[in-house]
């Protein structure tokens, strides 16, 4: 039965693709500005994809654009799914592993699925726009994108295909004994009426504290302290399966994959959601290994939902010292731009504006690897009527569902006989509403968030050897001075990186003549220098700051043809000859 249904599901999108392909010919279309008009991989950006569908899109993109997109697996999930990551760059303009890179992932929390569509949209947009958009061509000549649409594929499929609410599972699928009774996952939600949705239970009770809202009777509102209610709320659909007096206390998971990262990690009794030790979750471990194998990653974005936030660390108050003024300046410049590009989103700091939390992904990316990283919390109630939410945002959700979704987001209350609670009613918003974008707003918000990540990526370092000049010292000796410029906002090493020497120094090399001495020029006008006594051909500089220059100098013998090359893990490679 199930298989047949799945097959039908698969065939349906294929059919509609075929229709899309043949319905309009290119000559029948006017390109809407800023969108690929005639994509090689046709997509509908108003719905959500399961793991199999995501896999298919990644492979199609790689097949359609072999010079731009490569797909590989970072490792396997707990249940054995491949963790896909796309490498996107103009492969004809240099080794993608040597270009400054932006890493993007989504869906670390399994119920926060639109991060995958946003990441996928970015990959699709870069590939499909490359042919006719100069900015994208330049960007992919300079930069590499590593895009992992879902980093929690097991539980993504559970969210999509199993009965869930908007908040479940959030975890991955490794079974955990949450209530410490020795039994595992023995008391999760129960889809009592078998409709595929986990919604709320309510019961008529003259002593209850809720009544139906007059404006929309589907909505339960609490009564004032001096009023009588009509209903009591009994939580999400479920029963006390194990007879311990608690309902739904040990379901799928629970651990939080975003409490598993190795920067100031803390165990579960301090940080709820932590698993055994940092990277004890196989999905995160694969990502960590991937990131360490790609030291060119200078920028990171991890898509979550929801609330319309552009978040940076520190995650925990205890980590406040990790972020110093210089790095905060970079974050502020990017974050403020983000607020401009994505109306309704606010640039915020996790520990003070959200909650103080240990072991988050963005903390390891920045604290443990020195990568400038944001987490965007996708979707905000602002987008319902394009205005800031009032104090009654729940009422707005109901009116938005009535007026724009025509009640599609809600499971209407219906009677049910519960063997523990007696006569109850079951109803409430579906899992696809509240935290996820409604279809018609998905593409628009994906595009805005992508624009922010492209801006973020654009400002990874761009190095050039800007000047080489020569001075004759007499006696066959010459002084060669080279100026290395970084034309973007980010330095080659964040100050967190410099503090711990996370990444190796940038190397500026002179090849050709015999090098007698080498030095960093601290002040060219006043001739203040620091000599590097050992290996003088290869001057190591700790950092090349953003929108700034570094000057180095060599004393050489027998000048002739020579070249100066700068090699920086996060800044890429540039060279110039005299």
């Amino acid at each position: 039965m199930k298989l047949i249904i799945k097959k039908i599901f698969f065939t349906l999108p294929l059919l509609s693709l075929a229709i899309a392909l043949f319905a309009q010919q290119p000559e029948q279309i006017l390109k809407a500005s800023g969108s690929p008009a005639n994509p090689k991989v046709p997509m509908s950006w108003n719905r959500y994809n399961d793991y199999a569908a995501i896999t298919e899109v990644c492979k199609k993109l790689a097949k359609a654009y072999p010079d731009l997109v490569k797909v590989e697996s970072m490792g396997k999930s707990f249940m054995g799914k491949e963790m896909w990551v796309m490498t996107i760059s103009d492969f004809k303009t240099g080794d993608p592993s040597k270009k400054p890179a932006m890493y993007i992932d989504g869906n670390i929390h399994s119920n926060e699925i639109q991060g995958s569509e946003f990441a996928l949209y970015t990959a699709w947009y870069l590939a499909e726009s490359f042919a006719d958009t100069k900015h994208i061509q330049e960007l992919l000549a300079d930069k590499t994108f590593y895009i992992a649409p879902t980093i929690n594929p097991d539980a993504r499929d559970n969210f999509i295909h199993a009965a869930n609410n908007a908040n479940s599972p959030r975890s991955g699928m490794i079974p955990v004994d949450n209530d410490r009774d020795g039994s595992i996952n023995e008391d999760g939600y129960d889809d009592l009426d078998g409709d595929g949705h986990i919604v709320f239970m309510r019961r008529k009770n003259p002593n209850g504290r809720f009544i139906a809202d007059q404006d929309d009777p589907r909505r339960m509102i609490s009564v004032g302290v001096d009023q009588q209610g009509e209903y009591e709320l009994l939580g999400y659909e479920g029963i006390d399966n194990d007879g311990d007096g608690d309902v739904n206390e040990d379901g799928e998971g629970f651990y939080d994959p975003n409490r598993d990262w190795a920067w100031n990690w803390q165990p579960n009794y301090i940080q709820s959601g932590a698993y055994k030790y940092p990277f004890s979750l196989p999905e995160n471990r694969s990502i960590a290994d991937f990131v360490m194998k790609h030291p060119n990653i200078a920028a990171g974005q991890s898509y979550h939902n929801n609330g319309g936030m552009i978040l940076r660390g520190p995650g925990a108050l205890e980590d406040l010292d990790t972020y110093n003024a210089q790095d905060v300046q970079v974050y502020d410049a990017l974050g403020n731009k983000g607020e401009e590009l994505i109306p309704g989103y606010k640039y915020l700091v996790v520990y003070k504006d959200l909650y103080s939390v240990f072991g988050g992904e963005l903390d390891w990316f920045y604290g443990g690897r020195g990568i400038y990283t944001f987490s965007n919390e996708l979707w905000t109630n602002f987008l319902m009527y394009n205005k800031a939410g009032d104090s009654n945002s729940q009422a707005t959700q109901y009116s938005f569902d009535r007026n724009l979704l025509f009640n599609d987001a809600f499971v209407n209350w219906k009677a049910f006989k519960h063997h523990q609670y007696g006569d109850i009613e079951i109803g409430g918003f579906k899992k696809s509403f509240g935290r996820l974008h409604p279809g018609f707003l998905l593409e628009s918000d994906a595009h805005r968030n992508m624009s922010f990540t492209l801006y973020h990526a654009y400002h990874t370092p761009k190095l050039s050897v800007e000047e080489i000049s020569e001075k004759d010292l007499g006696g066959g000796l010459k002084e060669v001075t080279a100026v290395i410029a970084n034309k973007r906002l980010m330095p080659t090493h964040s100050s967190q990186d410099l503090k711990y020497k996370i990444e190796v120094p940038d190397m500026i090399s002179l090849t050709g003549p015999k090098v007698i001495a080498g030095m960093i020029v601290n002040n060219r006008d006043l001739n203040i220098t620091s000599e590097q006594k050992n290996d003088a051909e290869n001057i190591r500089v700790p950092n090349i700051p953003g929108n700034s220059t570094v000057t180095v100098r060599w004393i050489i013998q027998n000048a002739g043809k020579y070249s100066v090359k700068v090699d920086s893990k996060k800044g890429g490679i540039a060279s110039r000859s005299n």
Binding site: A262, W263, Y269, K276, Y277, P278, F279, S280, N534, R540
Partner: protein
């Protein structure tokens, strides 16, 4: 294939064992493997051997499970050696415990003990590092075989030690130089100590480990072979980006494999670590503010009391005295076992250089300057231990042309590893201590069962859950961790009974040593009824009663 190659490795070990070294020394990797294999052959019913993983250097991390019957259902102690690669004694104490216990397993008292307790022995967590003691150039090593850039300059292993005088060990170089901060200890000029300028002392020597400054960065031997230290790679108080700590917490095979296993071993109530940290000679002190923070950094009061109680037992059983002060180093295993694993954690180096007494016959005076080398040299002389110090000898050193350079000083290993002849006695002391500790294991019983008829088929059932052990059923910190199971109490009524009051299934928090808790239910109906109580750390008990 695999089995065959394993046998070959073991055979080679036996060859080495009989061929090369003499049995009066510490065991290398092959010998340790051979000793473990011998145990599993001799006591197949009492010990199971498993390799948890292989290190970067390709060496097995062994785990021995010692006990009888359902070993995972009994209160257990984990014994971990080799947390610090240069601490050869740790492996001997852990493996020696297993050997001594199993060799006595035909005795009734040991049989009874093994029927009630389980012991998990991890003899050596740093086999890559330990092997350095047995190699052509000996030096105290803690790091595994993973190539790392210890000084984070982009070059890997570019400045190792060099055995300049080809004597097979790495000692010290002293250079007469006005910028030096070291001086000869006036009480024993062979030992170099730091000069204290505030006392008017003047440094005359530079002091380095034996080798060259290969990369000419002014530091000697700062980026040699390896690696990550097992005892710097754990998640509690992890030191970020220091040599030996790795790229992130719990990054190494051996650390991960040990933790993957330990987290699934719910019956472990105590972990004994043989390593540098010592909370057995002197217990931790309770510090209220340290547990008031979100990230606690001290023991809970109840747990510090347990530590004091067990420390007293240790000192009594072993008779070891005058232990030097020790402090946690960050990223270490013993503190992880308490703070992140939530179990009782007891740790000792097992041996330290005794305080040397002045030999009055030679008109020696008591040593006043705190210097472990001069103390060692005096003690070694009194014990007639020879060959653990190299006399200073002039050498030519390319990094100091024209300067007075001498090579010599204390040998590696000798300050933390006793002469091998002392090992047997130390194994016995620690074996006896572990057995005594196991007798204190938490142990659950159900007593004082009462049935009160309240009329009309209604009965009040009361039972007292008692912990007969001296150790609590779980630590105070473990109470907070979901990796430590609570005591589960289940009341199982028969078909015609119903529970009017009281929980059918309930979870009980820690019961302290010799503590108890009374539970009560109201039951309607007659017939048989049973109560099951237990947790993996404290055993289980089931009673049946008729209403």
């Amino acid at each position: 294939m695999n089995n065959i190659s394993k046998t070959i490795v073991l055979l080679m070990g036996i060859f080495l064992f009989y061929g090369e070294t003499n049995a009066q020394d510490y065991s290398n990797y092959a010998q340790v493997s051979q000793r473990i294999n011998a145990l599993s052959k001799s006591y197949p019913g009492l010990v199971r051997v498993k390799s948890l993983t292989k290190t970067f250097g390709g060496k097995d991390i062994w785990m021995l499970t010692i006990g009888s019957g359902q070993t995972d259902q009994k209160p257990a102690i984990a014994i971990v050696g080799g947390v610090e690669g240069s601490h050869l004694l740790g492996t001997e104490l852990a493996l020696g415990f297993a050997e001594k216990l199993l060799n006595a397993s035909s005795q009734d008292s040991i049989k009874a003990l093994l029927a009630k307790n389980t012991f998990y022995v991890f003899p050596n967590m740093s086999p890559d590092a330990t092997e350095q003691y047995f190699s052509q150039v000996r030096y105290a090593r803690s790091s595994n075989a993973r190539p790392t850039d210890d000084d984070r300059d982009g070059k890997i292993n570019e400045d190792p030690f060099e055995d300049l005088n080809k004597d097979g060990k790495i000692n010290w170089i002293r250079v007469e130089d006005a910028t030096g901060k070291y001086r000869s200890n006036p009480e024993d000029p062979r030992s170099m100590i730091l000069a204290d300028p505030s006392k008017g002392e003047i440094g005359k020597y530079l002091l380095f480990s034996e080798g060259l400054d290969n990369d000419k960065d002014g530091n000697f031997n700062e980026d040699g072979e390896g690696g990550v230290h097992f005892n710097k790679n754990m998640s509690y108080a992890y030191p970020n980006f220091v040599p030996g700590s790795g790229e992130h917490m719990v990054s190494e095979n051996e650390n991960r494999a040990l933790l993957d296993n330990l987290f699934e071993m719910f019956n472990i109530h105590s972990v004994i670590t043989f390593g540098p940290y010592n909370n057995l000679s002197v217990p931790v002190t309770f510090n209220a503010p340290a547990v008031a923070k979100r990230v606690i950094s001290g023991y809970y009061e109840a747990d510090s009391k347990t530590n004091a109680q067990v420390s007293e037992l240790y000192n009594k059983v072993t008779g070891l005295k005058d232990a030097p002060k020790s402090s946690a180093t960050g990223g270490d295993f013993a503190n992880w076992a308490y703070f992140h694993y939530g179990r009782n954690s007891f740790s000792t180096p097992g041996w330290w250089v005794p305080k040397a007494k002045a030999d009055t016959a030679r008109k020696e005076k008591d040593l006043k300057i705190e210097d472990q080398v001069s103390n060692y040299l005096r003690w070694a002389k009194s014990e007639k231990i020879e060959g653990s110090f190299a006399e200073w000898k002039k050498i030519d050193h390319p990094d100091f042309p024209g300067q007075n350079v001498e090579l010599g000083g204390i040998d590696p290993f000798v300050l933390i590893n006793p002469p091998y002849k002392l090992v047997e006695g130390l194994v016995k002391k620690h074996h006896d201590f572990i057995l005594e500790l196991s007798k204190n294991a938490p142990s659950i019983d159900l007593i004082n069962i009462k049935k009160e008829k309240l009329g009309d088929g209604l009965t009040r059932v009361t039972a007292t859950l008692i912990n007969n052990g001296a150790l609590a059923t779980q630590t105070k910190v473990g109470e907070r961790s979901y990796w430590v199971k609570k005591i589960s109490v289940k009341l199982i009524p028969s078909a015609n009974q119903s529970i009017i009051s009281g929980r059918k299934n309930q979870m009980i928090d820690a019961i302290e040593g010799q503590g108890n808790k009374t539970l009560t239910w109201l039951i309607k109906g007659s017939g048989k009824l049973s109560i099951d109580a237990g947790s993996p750390t404290s055993g289980s008990k089931s009673i049946e009663l008729a209403l």
